[in-house]
Symmetry: C2
Subunit: 347 residues, 2 copies
């Protein structure tokens, strides 16, 4: 319904570099990314120097940059996938687009290259509708609207602060599912975006997301790191945990989360079977986490994102799991760091 | 994931006839409907004799048939769109497919005719997942699965009892929206079906639905009839009301509701502007109904669909609206009639 303009000064694209040579990755994205500023954060465990092709406007951060900002006790947290959160922290922009470096642009059902930046920003700049489900999906998309019976008082919606994109080819499955169905590929391009309803939690994937940094930055929190976490998505849980946290915060503060388009194309990774011995810890944790987060009620005093995260951390700490106590500590620490970094003039 | 077989003895297709000549409607559906039994219910206000083309297995019901079953005080309720509920009542099958007679088959993104019966039955025979949102939509669809982070204990799902299909061309908008945007047509074929999460209500449209009659029949209830209701969808609210009722029942009894494919093609109707003087009553009612149904908690004693509907009717009756008191009365009456008709050997 609405016309969205995209101001390049409002957008940072954050890329976590797990491979030092980003040439083919960035070349594939050049038509989409070249007019935006990139924040490239090198996995602190990666020793080689980054190779970044010419023609991009970027800032790159390495281990020593992280160590200047993050207290020494916390720097180990920022290895692997989590290093991208450092990019969220040092950005000064309103919107963050974040994408894994094993993804290339997808094509839509017309065969056109998917511009993930435009679509994510449209998702974020148009309202979300978490209080009633619209059967024609996002009513603000061109060609759509609210269907008969949708209360008019709810048609203004609420601010959308998180846009979760999807993946073609290699879907973001867990190691057991991927091991059981090694041939399974996602080839269904579903041309839709929708608000995840209030009260419903979803398994957020960090592969392809965007968010309003000013509105929910402190809730996009690096907190849960599994002991045997590795360098493939099916071994990680940091994003899933973050998704539970941010959705509870959004439901409490009347903010919206969307899921659907834009898609990216996820390229092949190694065998999931090797990961099976690692990832069960995360799989088992979810059985406890989901009921916990589903029943968590934040107090009326929690009126800011920071207050919500801190209150949630306190509730988690009361539990018995040692991993979760660590995660709760990381959440409190993150809110603190976020405030400190935000108050500096330069990083 | 699962293979679904469709037994024609389990399915009734219910058609409410608002036009006496069903020839072109049924001919358009012949490839899909011809192997199933049809229940055709003539709008009691329609005087002409039905014209039904050869080669269909059907039972037709007219005003005098309705009067044999429904108490005289209630027969006026069954005029217009509501007459189809009489078909639901007299069916002996497990599954009902119900479709408006101004719809013809849609084409999918490959240009193939959409077989609504097969898709609705697949939706109903595969589980629903109302307790956690799956970002790759229905995990039971071929080519899809649960994404990383989805709790394994929730992957068995719950029985799906209601499948809400969608519409191409003329979308199911209300009269104000249709009047404001007379040129708006829905041409986006979204190849997805998803579970409406627990706690989220949706504006059910009766244009194209299917349900498990044995499981939720008594909750598919004709209850709310607006004073100036007419013969076009944007003047009616009976289906929207029914959707609120059935979703609250499903959430309470741990049953599932899906929305998405299959699509039908909705043909043009007259001007929505004429309806504006009629439909505001329904639009205004929704402002009160949604908060009411959203906060309604059924008791633990309500363990059957019938008990849920009766308990809900009692809660509605306590309100102040005269239309709603009538609707509550109709709900209680429906549960009674459903039980009576179900206990007869033949109708």
């Amino acid at each position: 319904m609405s016309q969205v303009t995209i101001d390049k000064n409002e957008v940072d694209i954050v890329i976590a570099a797990f491979n030092s040579d980003l040439t083919s990755f960035l070349e594939s994205w050049r038509p989409v990314f070249s007019r935006f500023h990139l924040i490239i954060v090198q996995d602190p465990e990666l020793k080689d120097e980054l190779k970044i092709p010419k023609g991009f406007d970027f800032d790159a951060y390495i281990k020593s940059d992280i160590e200047k900002v993050i207290p020494p006790s916390n720097t180990s947290m920022f290895s692997g996938y989590v290093c991208r959160y450092f990019g969220y922290l040092v950005s000064k922009k309103k919107y963050i687009i974040s994408i894994d470096d094993d993804c290339t642009p997808a094509k839509d059902s017309n065969g056109d290259l998917v511009d993930i930046v435009t679509q994510h920003i449209i998702n974020l700049k148009t309202p979300a509708t978490p209080f009633f489900f619209n059967t024609l999906y996002d009513p603000y998309r061109k060609g759509s609207d609210f269907v008969r019976g949708y209360p008019f008082s709810l048609r203004t919606g609420v601010p959308c602060v998180l846009s979760c994109g999807l993946w073609l080819n290699l879907a973001d499955l867990d190691a057991p599912t991927q091991s059981l169905k090694p041939e399974l590929r996602n080839d269904r391009y579903v041309d839709a975006v929708l608000t995840v309803p209030k009260g419903s939690l979803m398994p957020m994937s960090g592969v392809n997301i965007a968010f309003d940094r000013e509105a929910v930055g402190p809730a996009i929190v690096p907190a849960l790191k599994l002991a045997k976490e590795g360098k493939v998505r099916w071994e990680t849980m940091e994003d899933v945990w973050c998704g539970l946290v941010v959705k509870v915060v959004c439901d409490h503060l009347k903010l919206g989360v969307k899921t659907g388009v834009p898609y990216v194309w996820r390229n092949e990774r190694g065998s999931a079977i090797d990961s099976l011995k690692k990832e069960w810890q995360g799989v088992k944790l979810m059985e406890e986490l989901v009921p916990f987060f589903q029943t968590l009620k934040l107090s009326e005093d929690a009126v800011t994102v920071e207050a919500c995260v801190v209150e949630m951390a306190a509730a988690i700490k009361k539990g018995s799991h040692p991993e979760l106590a660590n995660a709760a500590g990381n959440m409190v620490e993150w809110v603190k760091i976020w405030k400190e970094v935000g108050s500096r003039v330069t990083v």
